[in-house]
Every structure is written in structure tokens, then in C-alpha cells.
Amino acid sequence: MALTALIVLPLFGGIAALLVARLGRNAERWFSIAVLAVALIALIVAWTGGPPPDAPGAQWLALVRYQYAPALGLQFLLAMDGLSGALVAVSIVLGIISVVISWNIRKQSGLFHACILWTVAASNGVFLAMDLLFFAFFWELMLVPSFLLISIWGHGDREAVALKFLVFNAVAGLGLLAAVFYMAATAPEITFDAFVFAEMGIPPLAQVWLLLGFSMAFLTKLPAPPFHAWLPDAHTMAPTAGSILLAGLLLKTGAYGLFRFPGMLFPDGFHVLAPYGLALGAFGTIYGAVLACGQTDAKRLVAYTSIAHMSIVLMGLSGGVHFAMMGAGVEMIAHAFSASALFLLIGALYDRVGTRDLRQLGGLQQTAPRFAAAFAVFFSAALAMPGTANFLGEALVITGMFQVNWFLAAIALVSLVVSVVYATGLLKRIIFGVPSKACVTQDLTWSELAPVIVLATGTLLFGMLPQLLLVVLEPAVDAALAPLVRP
């Protein structure tokens, strides 16, 4: 029951936020935080609720199944294991942070908070749904609130960018829909249940095509290089909260999809397409990193770094080895923290200074030491300094790559080196240097410092004491790998 609350609560909370906005005095902000807090409690209840009796695997922590139209094979099936639980927790925390960080948004603030809650609800849906129809439904639903967030509260020519974001991801979603419907049609009796598909034994050739369909949607959302054109624009034009949700939630759904379904539904297809996934990931890390070095807009730079980090996740996921998958899981969560923090800081700077152009920034060290300290922490996370969760993720992926193919490991290491170039480049232009007249700002207020501290503890805690995260991910990775055992 708690699982459905994870989705239903933010969904209807969003609608309620629209109404509560009329009460004024930030009512809808406290209301949203309350809704998300209750959702967090629901998550904990679901997590500690003991393994469900009828769960097909050992790794499922909670499962809800409600057949509301058996004739049509429609059912409401949610299941949570280690990884999806962690991702849901991250998305709720980031939801709270994006509410806290946009305390001064006045334009249609009711709808603003509704969009935040709906994004959290939709992404929770994606992380939990094990019924492919509902998965596809939430997959598409996610785009709508983000589209609204970018097109209403964004900067610059936000409508065009929001449209580009929507078209890119909606079209990519078609691949997913086609595959889901094909599978439902060829199933012995019509159903969308992922567990049934897992045992159904789809012929290998069909598996390859279905996996292509699935990965079309996941790679665009990931984003992997040829399909990434929407991310830099979307991030530059999105409001701070939008960027946090985009980086923290939406990107993770792509990676989560690649983690869950290829292994479970298309083992043969996975063995055929894995090399291409590896190659794409390798190219992505280098391409994203090199492009990040040349950017002049801070948010665009961080967007390209996200492409580089998520391509490392892609490499880990298509490695098919225990270390690589584990590393991918850790990197997903670490990137959620570090990317959101960087967007948060850049957004806060933009609110004060009015520009994100790196050529005009600089000298934050003198004028805002606390800003500088926060930037330094997440600067070290961006270049995967040991002691941060990013390093743990990337080191595990590289270990996995050494087992798979040494050349790929070398490429991942090169990307580590290039990450220094863009990270120091970002830091140099924002923190160091003579404080330009645009940069005389007041330091971080407590409403901005609290989320930064939360994200910093997240990054450093999982970096220093990784077993907190690894224990959670272990069963999920074992289950995902079981069908993939290399022949």
C-alpha cells in the first residue's frame, strides 16, 4: 500500500498545491514540502515492510499488484528493490530541495509547485512500475511537467527549447511503446507484466529488435551522444528547480531503464547489443568531456559534464560484469547529488548576478567564501576525487571495464583526466580571478546552504563509507546480472 502512496501522494499533492497557492504566505511551499516528507515516510515504511510473499525474485523489497482489468491484461503492478528504492529516495529529496531552493519564485507559484510534485510522482512511477504499460505511461508523463517548468519559468527563448526537449523525448518514447505493444501482442494471453515477459522466452532475433526499441527511449533520456542535443539547451534555459529535477530525476530514469529491463527481458539481445553500448558510452565520455571544456555558459558546461558522467554509467550498464553494474548504480546516485548541487549553486549565482556567462563571472573567493567552499566540494565531486561517491562509481566501472576490455578502461581513465580540465576551467572562471564588478554578491543564505549541506553529506558520506550504498545495491545488481551470466 505504501508503494502506491509514493506515486499517488505527490500526484494529488500537486493538484492540491494549485488550490493551496491561493492561501498565500508561501502556503503551497510548506504544503509541497509536507507532501514530500510524507512520501519519504511512506518510502521508509515500504522499505522496512519485509519482503513481499508473492515476489518472483529475492531482491524485491515491496510489491503491490492490483488486477483491475484482467480480460485486457491490465494491472497496477509496482515493485521496489534496492536500486529503485534508492532512486526514489533521491528523487524525493531532490524534490524537497528544488522546492526549498526556489523560495523566491512568485510567477504562478501554485502551478510551479504542482509541476515539481508531478515530476517527482512521474519519476517515482517510472522507478517502481513493473507493468510495462504503466512504465511507458509514467515515462511519457514525466515530460509534461518538465516541459511546463522550462517553458514558463525558464530564461531566454525557453519555448523553442522546451518544445525541442518534448519532441526529442516523445519521439524516442515511441520505440518503447512499439516494443511494449509488440510483446503484449505476442504474449500467450495479453498482459503487460514484466515478470511474465521475463519467463516468456522471446526469440533471440525479436529480443534484439525489442531491445533496440527500448534503448531508443532510454538512450535519448540518458542522454547518449547522438541523441543528446536536447540536454544542453534544456538545462541552460530551465529554472534552477527545473535543472535539478532534470539532472537528478529525468536522467536517472534513462539509466534505470537500461539497468532493469535489458538484463531481465532480453538477455540474448543484451549480449548482441552490449558491445555497441560500450562503444557508445566510451565515445560519450570523451565527447561530453571535451565539449564541456569549451563552453562559455556555466549551466551548459555542467550539462555536458552530465553527458560524460551518464555515458560512464552507460558503459557500466552495458559491461554486464558485477563491478561495472555496481559502479553504474553508484555513479547514478552520485551524479544526481553532484550535478544537482552544481546546478543549485550556479542557479543561486544567476539569481544574484543575472548572468551565467563564465567570461563575466570570477572572483567569488573574495566576495563569497561560503559559495567558494561549496563550489570546491562539488568541484572535487565533478572530477571524481577519491572520497566522493563519484570516484567510487567510476573506479568500480573502470574495474569492470578492465575485466571486459582494457581499451575501454583506458578511455574511461582519459575521461578522468579531461574531467580535471573542465572542472578546473569552471572553478577558475567562477571562484578565482579578480572579482569582476558583476560578481559583488552577498554570500549563500541559509535556505540555499541547507540543501548544499544535504547534497555534500550525501556525496562525501557515500564516498567515505560506501558500504551504506553498496549493501543496498548488492541484491539488485545480483538479480539483474543473473540472466546475463556470460555463456
Binding site: P232, L416, F432
Partner: protein, 634 residues
């Protein structure tokens, strides 16, 4: 509570100071910052000395596990380790760290609160990370310390945030050391895959047990990692420019401890390295070559800090030479001695040049004897130990041991011995140049003495250079090895080398003709422009690629991203637009216009003329009749 629990306490105070000063939200005044920093710096020494003493008495080969967890098939067990090597190096690092941070309290007195706080936070973080690396019992904590040092060096080199040169130097240092770290990470991960555990005790036997190709590769990667961090020949360009940081930073990081970490790494993994003779030979040659290159470049420097930087490069070259010849213990001994006299040189040079208008070139040290006697005399002691004045200074014993091990290592060894000897001569030359300049009297120089925090560390270190002399051989024995002794003649030659160097130095400073030529040797001064070569070979192509990919060169920005979008738009143009006007609709429209034209024609039938109508009637009647006749009548 095993005695090794204290190991955990060693890095703790420094880390605590960092957290308090660096990330702590509380406000501190100057006095508070200095006390916290000093506490963070001295407490590790206080904890480390008893541990060192314990190690001296009995066997000290203990592990203090921190936690362990299963990651799939492997077990990751983090731990701190105490053994003669880590104890000795740990003690040295803590002592020198305390001295340098103590010294910098006075040295940095003028900078304002925010910068001071950042400086001491970073210095303490550095000390903590260095101790983590030294005391690490497993590869993860080792690499954690190793990388954190790189981060601190970046921030400390770029301490003067407003000077673009310092920032560029910091970035260059960080990138090059990061390249080396990549090699080291690869090696450590490969070992981890072999051993299935991260403990150094498991890694080394597992590394030895693997097949030759893999072991050779691991050893080569380890060597590359060490060379990068210790600024050996191909990777050395970052160290001279790293002198842009404040002098205490150069003293602690870029001479004594961090830069020598490479040597410590190779010493720690020596059993594994020795099983790959080729890599050992390469290490030795690289060491010797770097020693010679460093020494020659140092001779021509005009700036005392750059001179000391090149000197560090060459001294660590000596250490690598020793390790390459299978004598890691001698290298570590030289590490300890070098750490002491090099930090002493930096601190005293810093003190002298600070009062002389702040520039750090050698000319500014003119008349230092009278202006700053304590610092000058300490500098002389350090220089003597660097040059290796026999029997009196520690430098002589450790360098002599290295030359001896080179001589005894067979025919190839003798070649290396020759190279090392010439390097030693040049070392003598560049060591005494600033000393002689300091002797030149300057009129009206008032004798001044620094504060207690300046002089105490300098005196301590000076005493150390002389006190360590008799301890070099026991140190090597402490590390379970013996000091090699070449034939007497060879030792004598080694003893004469520093004096030849002194003569050279005398010629260079006082003979105008030679000193002018030294001044003009601009090519040599910039390290045969290797830095410029790197700039052309690596940096410019990379910048060009970045510019091209981000479209600043008029090309399409982010080509891989925009090409699919342009393709899609072309597709829309090619397929959708022609169909935009629905062909069926167009067909109906055509039909409609045809009827309009037909109407135009039909209109003329109604001409309004009675005769035409009559004609029509006639035709109609005729046709009907014919029809009727054709069908019914007949």
C-alpha cells in the same frame, strides 16, 4: 585496544583542523585560526613519535582495520598499516609538516582572515592526506591520500587567486599529476582484480603470482604513476611553475613530501617491482637522467625557488636511481634526509627573500649574511647537506650510499654511477651559488631577526641536517637492509665532487665573463623549453579540438548532437512539406475550378436569341422522332 589503534589518531587532528577551518560555518579570528592550524599540525607528530619509538623497540608490523565490505566476489577491507617504512616516513612527514606550518604562521601573518583560513585548512588537509597515504594498509586509502594531495597542491599553488599565472600553474600541475594518477589507478585496479582484495599484503604476492605480461604492465603503470607525481623527466614541467605558490607550500608540498611520494610508492611496492628487471632498469635510467637534467637546469636558474625546484627534481631522480638498482631502503633514507634539508633551504630562502622586496631571485639574497644571519646560516647548512659535504652532513651519507649502490650494480651500474657523479658535481655548483651571492656585502643592511615562529623551525631543521648524518646507516638497517660500501677510491671521488662544485659556483658568481654567460643561457634556464614543446604537442591541439567541437571556429557547434537534428529537419522538408498540401484536397480543388470553366462555356448556350432556342427545339424534336422511328414505329 591494540596499540595500532593510535594509527587512526595520526591523520585525525589534521583532518579535524581542515573540517573546522575549511567547511566549518563558525567565524574565527586570526588568533583562533592560528591555534587550530598549529594544533592540527603538531598533534599528528605528537602521536606519531611514540609509535615510531614503539617500532624501534620491537617488531612493528601491525594492521588496524577500519571496515570491510563485500563488493560482489571481492572483499574490500580498508586498514592502516604500521611497518618500519611507514613509521620512518610518517615521523619525517609529521615533523616537517609541523615545522613548515609553524613557520607559515609568521610568514603568512600579513594575509587577511578569509585567505589565511583557507590556507591553513588546505595545509592541514594536505598533511592529513599525506599521512593517509603513508600509513595506508590498502590501495583505496593509499589512492585517497595520493589524489587528495593532488587536489591540495592545485588549490595551494593557486592560492594567490588573483594572479592568472598562479592559477595556470595550478591547473597545469593538477592535469599532469592527474595523468599520472590515472596510470596509478589503472595499476591498483588491475592488482585488485588479481588479488580480489585491496590489502597491500595481498596485492603484492598476487601481483607477483600473475603472468609476466600483466605483471610487467602493472609495474610499468606504477612507475609511470610515480614519475608523474615526483615530477620525473617526461612529467617534470609542472614543478618549476608550481613555485608560483607561497614559499611554505613549496617547502612542504613541492620539495619534501608530496613530490617524493612517488619514491615512497615504488619503495612500498618494491617486492613487486623487483620481479620485473626491465622496469627496474628503466627506473634507474630515468632516475639518473632526471638527476643530471635537474642539476644542469638548476645551475642556470636566476630565481632561487626555481633553482630549488629543479634541485628537488634531480634529488628525487637520485631516489629513483636507488630504487631502480634494487635499494629502496637507501632511497627512503635519502628521502628522509632530502626532506629535511630541502624544506630547510626553502624556509630560509623564503625568510631571506621575504624581507628583500619579496622577489625570490638570487640577486635579492645579496648581503643576506648581514641582513638575516640566522636564516642565512641555516641556508648554508642546508646547501652543504644538499651538496653532500662529506662526514658532516646527512646528505653526504645518503648520496654516497646511492653512488655506491650504483657502482656495485655491475657494468651498466657504472655508467649510471658516472652520470650520478656528474649530477653530484653540478649539485654542488648550484647549491653554493646563492650561498656565495649572500656573502657579497651590501651597504646599510640592518641585521634583523625573524619572529620565534620563523626561527624555531629553521633552527630545528638545521640541527636535524647535522643530527641525521650519523643516523643514515642505522636507518637503512632499521629498514632491514645494509648500506653498500664501494672500494675506497670510489668513495674518495664521491667526496671530492662537492668541492669541485663549490669551485664552479665560485667561478660563476665572481668571474664576470662566466656569470654573464650563465645569465644569458635562457634556453637552459627554461629546462630546454620542454614546457614549450608540451604546449605545442598537447595543449594547442586539444584547445583547437575543443574550439572546433564547440563551434567557435565557425563549424557546427556540438556536431554529433546537431547532425541528427539537422537530418530530421531535412527529412521533414523532404517528406512532409510536399504532402503538406494534401494531394486529394488539391484534386478536389482542381475539379472545382474545372466546373467554373465549364460554366463559362455553358453560359453561352443561353444566348438570349430566339433563333438559337428555335434551333435547339428543332434538334430536340428531330432526335426524338428519329429515336421513336428507330425503335417503335417500324
Amino acid at each position: 585496544m591494540s596499540p595500532f589503534f593510535a594509527l587512526l589518531l595520526v591523520p585525525m587532528p589534521a583532518m579535524g583542523a581542515f573540517l573546522l577551518l575549511g567547511l566549518g560555518p563558525a567565524e574565527f579570528n586570526r588568533r583562533a585560526i592560528q591555534t587550530i592550524a598549529l594544533a592540527g599540525a603538531t598533534l599528528p607528530a605528537v602521536v606519531m613519535l611514540p609509535l615510531g619509538a614503539y617500532c624501534l623497540m620491537g617488531t612493528c608490523d601491525g594492521i588496524q582495520p577500519i571496515f570491510d565490505l563485500e563488493v560482489g566476489p571481492a572483499v574490500v577491507a580498508l586498514a592502516l598499516k604500521l611497518d618500519p617504512l611507514s613509521a620512518l616516513v610518517g615521523v619525517t612527514v609529521t615533523i616537517i609538516g609541523a615545522c613548515v606550518i609553524g613557520y607559515s604562521i609568521d610568514y603568512m601573518a600579513k594575509s587577511e582572515i578569509a585567505d589565511l583560513r583557507r590556507y591553513f585548512a588546505l595545509m592541514n588537509l594536505f598533511l592529513a592526506s599525506m599521512l593517509c597515504m603513508v600509513l595506508a594498509g590498502d590501495s583505496i586509502i593509499f589512492f585517497l591520500g595520493w589524489e587528495l594531495m593532488g587536489l591540495c597542491s592545485f588549490f595551494l599553488i593557486a592560492y594567490h587567486v588573483t594572479s592568472a599565472r598562479a592559477i595556470a600553474a595550478g591547473r597545469k600541475a593538477f592535469v599532469i599529476t592527474r595523468v599520472a594518477d590515472a596510470f596509478l589507478l589503472a595499476a591498483l585496479l588491475l592488482l585488485f582484480l588479481e588479488a580480489g582484495s585491496v590489502r597491500l599484503d595481498d596485492l603484492i604476492p598476487a601481483g607477483i603470482a600473475t603472468d609476466d605480461v600483466r605483471r610487467g604492465l602493472i609495474a610499468a603503470l606504477l612507475l609511470a604513476g610515480a614519475m608523474g607525481k615526483s615530477a620525473q623527466l617526461p612529467f617534470h614541467t609542472w614543478l618549476p611553475s608550481a613555485m608560483a605558490g607561497p614559499t611554505p607550500v613549496s617547502a612542504l608540498l613541492h620539495s619534501a613530501t608530496m613530490v617524493a611520494a612517488g619514491a615512497y610508492l615504488l619503495a612500498r611496492l618494491a617486492p613487486l617491482m623487483e620481479t620485473v628487471p626491465l622496469v627496474m632498469a628503466v627506473t634507474a635510467t630515468v632516475g639518473a637522467a632526471t638527476a643530471l637534467f635537474g642539476a644542469t637546469a638548476a645551475v642556470f636558474q636566476l630565481d632561487v625557488k626555481r633553482l630549488l625546484a629543479y634541485s628537488s627534481i634531480s634529488q628525487i631522480g637520485f631516489m629513483l636511481l636507488a630504487i631502480g638498482l634494487g635499494q629502496p631502503e637507501v632511497a627512503i633514507a635519502h628521502f628522509v634526509v632530502h626532506a629535511i634539508f630541502k624544506s630547510l633551504l626553502f624556509l630560509s630562502a623564503g625568510d631571506i627573500t621575504q624581507i628583500a622586496r619579496g622577489t625570490t631571485d638570487i640577486a635579492a639574497m645579496r648581503g643576506a649574511l648581514r641582513a638575516r644571519p640566522v636564516a642565512y646560516l641555516a641556508f648554508v647548512a642546508g646547501a652543504a647537506s644538499l651538496a653532500g659535504i662529506p662526514f658532516v652532513t646527512g646528505g653526504w651519507f645518503s648520496k654516497e650510499a646511492i653512488l655506491a649502490s650504483a657502482w656495485l650494480a655491475g657494468p651498466f651500474g657504472i655508467v649510471l654511477w658516472g652520470v650520478a657523479l656528474s649530477a653530484a658535481v653540478l649539485t654542488g655548483a648550484y647549491a653554493f651559488r646563492p650561498v656565495l651571492v649572500g656573502l657579497i656585502p651590501v651597504k646599510g643592511a640592518r641585521m634583523t631577526f625573524g619572529g620565534v615562529f620563523t626561527n624555531l623551525p629553521i633552527l630545528l631543521l638545521a640541527a636535524g641536517t647535522f643530527a641525521i648524518a650519523p643516523l643514515v646507516t642505522p636507518m637503512v638497517e632499521f629498514l632491514d637492509a645494509t648500506v653498500p660500501h664501494p672500494p675506497l677510491a670510489v668513495e674518495l671521488v664521491g667526496a671530492v665532487a662537492p668541492f669541485v662544485g663549490l669551485a664552479l659556483a665560485f667561478a660563476m658568481t665572481f668571474m664576470p665573463r662566466i656569470s654573464r654567460r650563465v645569465a644569458q643561457a635562457r634556453r637552459m634556464r627554461s629546462g630546454i623549453r620542454i614546457d614549450g614543446v608540451y604546449q605545442i604537442v598537447f595543449v594547442q591541439p586539444f584547445v583547437a579540438l575543443v574550439r572546433w567541437l564547440t563551434g567557435q571556429r565557425g563549424s557546427i557547434a556540438d556536431p554529433v548532437g546537431t547532425l541528427p537534428v539537422m537530418g530530421a529537419q531535412w527529412l521533414v522538408g523532404a517528406i512532409v512539406r510536399p504532402l503538406a498540401h494534401d494531394p486529394l484536397d488539391r484534386a478536389w480543388a482542381g475539379f472545382a475550378s474545372a466546373t467554373v470553366r465549364a460554366w463559362g462555356v455553358a453560359r453561352h448556350v443561353q444566348s438570349g436569341r430566339v433563333r438559337d432556342y428555335a434551333l435547339a427545339i428543332a434538334v430536340g424534336v428531330a432526335l426524338l422522332l428519329l429515336l421513336g422511328w428507330g425503335t417503335t414505329w417500324r
